[in-house]
């Protein structure tokens, strides 16, 4: 087999590598999963000459975008600025979403719109392929599995057409900030952002500090206050401890009555 493979250095630690060889299209997929569970895909072209290769399935999901690996770190844009800067309806709609979901700036919204548009492009491109095309089946299944896993599509919606009907609100509803608010653990959407940023919230056992964490469906019932947080049963915070100490000192140094602080 003659093959030309381009390599590059990845600055994330690798812990699992799977190789999928697609004989029909003469493609070789190498799936590298890193410890941070971000999956990269290298789509390489391998010249296969008259040999039978077996197809081994991968256990990891596959993102359909191809990344051109250069020497050095992977770095790309995550948002796209709108074409017209001062369009009244767009400004109103964006402001409404920013207020409703407690976003920090328009860029957070544009980031979600960019992610949605890439997913829609992928789905649209897959829909132009033939129904029995192995690439369409493989990548379509992977895309739908990811959408189901993150709760963007419901259980019955397992066709690529439903991916085209996704909206920005579907994505914004799955952020950790909105889920903390909707589950009753915060007084308002802004309070939710503050709680997350101040490390009071955990998902499973992991304290999550990021308000835009996309929560998976099976992690959604494990959102709780973290064990070291004063809301979740840990010791009181710095200010309260300081006040308690000052009050105890004052009471002891006063006329000897004990003030019973909680």
């Amino acid at each position: 087999m003659q093959s030309r493979i381009r390599c590059g250095l990845l600055d994330r630690s690798i812990f699992r590598v799977s190789i999928i060889i697609d004989k029909g299209n003469e493609l070789c997929y190498i799936v590298i999963s890193s410890a941070a569970a971000a999956l990269d895909l290298l789509r390489l072209e391998a010249k296969l000459a008259n040999e039978t290769w077996c197809m081994s399935a991968s256990t990891a999901t596959v993102r359909s975008s191809s990344i051109d690996l250069r020497l050095g770190c992977i770095h790309g844009k995550t948002f796209k600025k709108p074409r017209r800067p001062y369009e009244k309806e767009r400004l109103d709609a964006e402001l409404k979403l920013v207020g409703e979901y407690g976003l920090r700036c328009k860029r957070e919204l544009w980031r979600v719109q960019y992610a949605l548009s890439r997913i829609r492009n992928a789905a649209r491109e897959l829909l132009t392929l033939d129904e029995k095309n192995p690439r369409r089946i493989f990548e379509g299944e992977a895309l739908l599995r990811r959408m189901n896993r993150y709760g963007l599509l419901g259980e019955g919606q397992n066709k690529l057409d439903y991916v085209l009907a996704l909206t920005v609100e579907n994505f914004l509803e799955r952020r950790l900030q909105t889920l903390v608010f909707k589950s009753g653990m915060a007084k308002s959407i802004h309070h939710a952002r503050v709680l997350i940023r101040q490390r009071h919230i955990r998902v499973g056992r992991q304290v999550v500090n990021i308000p835009s964490f996309m929560v998976r469906v099976d992690s959604a019932k494990h959102i709780d206050f973290s064990l070291t947080s004063p809301f979740g049963g840990g010791r009181p915070g710095r200010v309260k401890r300081k006040n308690q100490k000052a009050a105890a000192k004052k009471a002891a140094g006063g006329d000897g009555d004990e003030d019973d602080e909680e």
Binding site: S183, G184, A186, K187, K221, H222, F231
Partner: protein
Amino acid sequence: MTSIVQSPNLEILAREPEGFSIWKGPPFNNGQPAIKLERVSCTVARFSDNGSRLMVTKNNSVISVYDGYSSNEIRSFEIPSLLGAALSPCGTYLQTFQKSTNPQDKNVVLWEIHSGASVYQHFQKNMTKATWPSIQFSSDESVACRLATNEIQFFDSKDFSKGFIYRLRLPGVAAIELSKAPGSYIAAFLPESKGIPASIQIFSSNKDAQTQPIARRSFFRCSTVTMHWNKLSSGLLVVAQSDVDKTNQSYYGESKLNYLTTDGSHEGLVSLRKEGPVHDVQWSYSGLEFAVVYGFMPAKATIFDKKGNPSLELGQGPYNTVRFNPKGRVVCLAGFGNLPGDMAFWDYKEKKLLGTTKAECSVTSEWSPDGRYFMTATTAPRLQIDNGIKIFHHDGSLYFKKMFNKLHQADWKPETPESFSDIDELVTAVNTIKIGDNEKKAQGSKSTETSKIPASIAQKPAAYRPPHAKNADSVKAELFGGIAPATEISKNALRNKKRREKQKEKKAAESGSNASII
């Protein structure tokens, strides 16, 4: 059920404005119930939780305690300015609340019924739904506790004269719920204050194990809480309600369902698939599963297992109540209150719909202790007309109906479900029932409203047509399907048409005559 000697008889207590009477329960001999106890005038009548004692308040200052089986009066208490009274679960003690003006006057008194003496008294300023009865007992009366300011006091239920034997300090505690059977846990609710979220904590009732809570759950946005223990005291369901909905979806506020287990396997929200308030939540009598009716109307109903995973979806519909059958297997979904009263009976082991029926304007609904009958009652302070009792079989067919001028209360006499045999005919009948096959039942029943369509098929509402659109051609085409009726022409149009035809004839005649001339 007179075939088996040991199983007790069912009895129904019906209270009207003049007094209450006890009927011998179903099956009725000739369509009418036999009266067990004639009318006794009273204002309040209630059984104890195990049915052994009946407490009757007469004339606002005399309480009589009757024996539940023989209906003889055991003891009578004279208590001035009485505001409320409650029996303990086994019927041993009676708590009374009197109106009091100064803190020196101990106005909550605990009487022992057997001897008639008062064993404990304390002062309580006012009586609210959350704080009455003051002293809570477990079902076997082994644990007794009371909510005092910032602490929970535990008593020795055999000997109240010692006062409280130990206490649990919880600053800010607002509501407690002792687990009923067995009484080994107590759940406490501490409302939100200053920045600290509201929390539900479960402690053990044992004095030694009370340093740390066994389970806790904190949340914001909650003003009141209702707690439901299950029969084995292994799980607690908490409905947290708030008066203001911060998500701006409902005017009536929001409610969330939390589930805590005493072994720590689940401590969190129950994931409900539809947005909206939690209308009703009930544990089954075995304590292993619970049913929730939730969501904006039409509400969804789901049965969850004790791990909090959904085990059966009962569909959507106009329901806001769920009642489990004491013998297991059957659950009744109903829409009472402001809903039209649809009832659906499901067998949740076989996952089959047994029957649907309607019981309009019902206020209360309860299964009989043996699980064979389901009684709904329309009672007076809520609804002033159409007061009555309806009794249904376990599959929804109407068995008995009686109307009253005014009815205040209709209850079964409580019995333990184990003292009755299993419903054999239910087990065999489920396999032969088809959905919608109501002919056999309709012959024997007096009901004319047994619906033949399962509740899941909702009728499509007819489209609203404004008055001026009734005559539009498109509407007519839709209604008559292309076969247009003879269009009625208005008088003017008819006249113009005639004129035009005449002119045409004249022209034709002229041209004809012209042609003939030329």
